[in-house]
């Protein structure tokens, strides 16, 4: 009788504060962490100019892309709307696969947003061409290729871009 009573009286652990503790942890993680993933256009810069001698390129191999101080886009001296840039570049690169040069010129007052959009158009143009070639050659999209096949596609459509220092000061 006595024993039994003691057995029944073992107290339960009070767990009502577990919720508060886990709330604290949750709030701590909400404050110290961030959700944004880093996305962007991956580009390769050339080494400093002193180390590589300037090469002569024939003028008809060059597509001159210019952004002036008012963010106006010109291709070979002709003003075009930014939406057309991608198709013009794709057409030019397709016509002269291995010897083409895209020459980029900006002004010091050009906004970064305009420059970013231009880079975006260039990446899009090359991606479009490489995708098409990859479908034709391997029957698969560029994203599904293995490393060597991707290298082959990249060599078939090499990116040849030259960027000169921005011209000085505001003059359009």
């Amino acid at each position: 009788m006595f024993r039994r009573r003691r057995f029944e009286q073992i107290p339960e652990l009070n767990t009502s504060s577990t919720a508060d503790i886990s709330f604290m942890l949750l709030i701590f993680f909400l404050v110290t962490s961030s959700m944004d993933t880093d996305k962007g256009l991956l580009r390769q810069l050339p080494p400093l100019q002193e180390q590589q001698p300037p090469t002569d390129v024939r003028k008809d191999h060059v597509l001159q892309v210019t952004l002036d101080a008012h963010d106006q886009l010109a291709v070979d001296g002709i003003l075009i709307p930014p939406q057309q840039l991608r198709d013009q570049i794709a057409e030019f690169v397709a016509s002269d696969r291995t010897d083409h040069v895209i020459s980029i010129r900006t002004d010091r007052a050009t906004s970064y947003e305009a420059y970013f959009r231009m880079q975006n158009a260039i990446v899009a143009a090359y991606a479009q061409l490489r995708e098409a070639y990859s479908r034709e050659r391997f029957g698969r999209g560029y994203g599904e290729l293995v490393e060597e096949q991707r290298d082959e596609v990249n060599q078939y459509y090499p990116q040849r871009i030259s960027e000169s220092k921005p011209s000085e000061g505001g003059a359009s």
Binding site: S16, A19, Y112, R117
Partner: protein, 148 residues
């Protein structure tokens, strides 16, 4: 009358309490969700910037080999430290030394620049990066379906 009141009282007394036993489990689930989808913020950004939007942006791989450079028209910040254009190249070198050998080889600089920054500033930054041989750069941007 008295009988009525007693019935009324009784029903009010019998209101059951909400069972909170599963509350910790629920909160733990939310906690684990956040622990998985987020990552620790390691930079304390001291300047205001808004990256441009593009359609071709890709996720940046190998987070451990990345140096963040924040730029707006007046200020530059490298990882956690405000700096200016003259000290940028040196600071990149110093940050690179902190990385392990393999990471230093495939170092990528993520350029988080405000969209209204003039290209003059960006060009100076890029020149400093060339000087410190950090040649792989990532123009950071948000993803957009279409650019207007």
């Amino acid at each position: 009358m008295r009988r009525m009141q007693s019935i009324f009282r009784r029903s009010s007394h019998d209101m059951p309490g909400l069972n909170l036993a599963s509350m910790p489990d629920l909160i733990f689930t939310v906690l684990f969700f956040f622990m998985i989808v987020t990552h620790m913020r390691h930079d304390d950004v001291k300047l205001r910037y808004q990256v441009p939007a593009g359609t071709e942006v890709q996720k940046l791989q190998q987070k451990s080999a990345v140096i963040n450079v924040y730029v707006n028209s007046s200020q530059i910040q490298v990882n956690n430290q405000l700096t200016d254009i003259d000290h940028l190249a040196g600071l990149i070198e110093a940050e690179r030394k902190k990385l392990s050998m393999e990471n230093a080889e495939r170092l990528t600089v993520s350029l988080k620049a405000d969209k209204h920054t003039p290209m003059g500033v960006i060009s100076d930054v890029k020149e400093a990066l060339q000087k410190s041989f950090a040649l792989r750069i990532n123009y950071s941007g948000t993803e957009a379906k279409e650019i207007q």
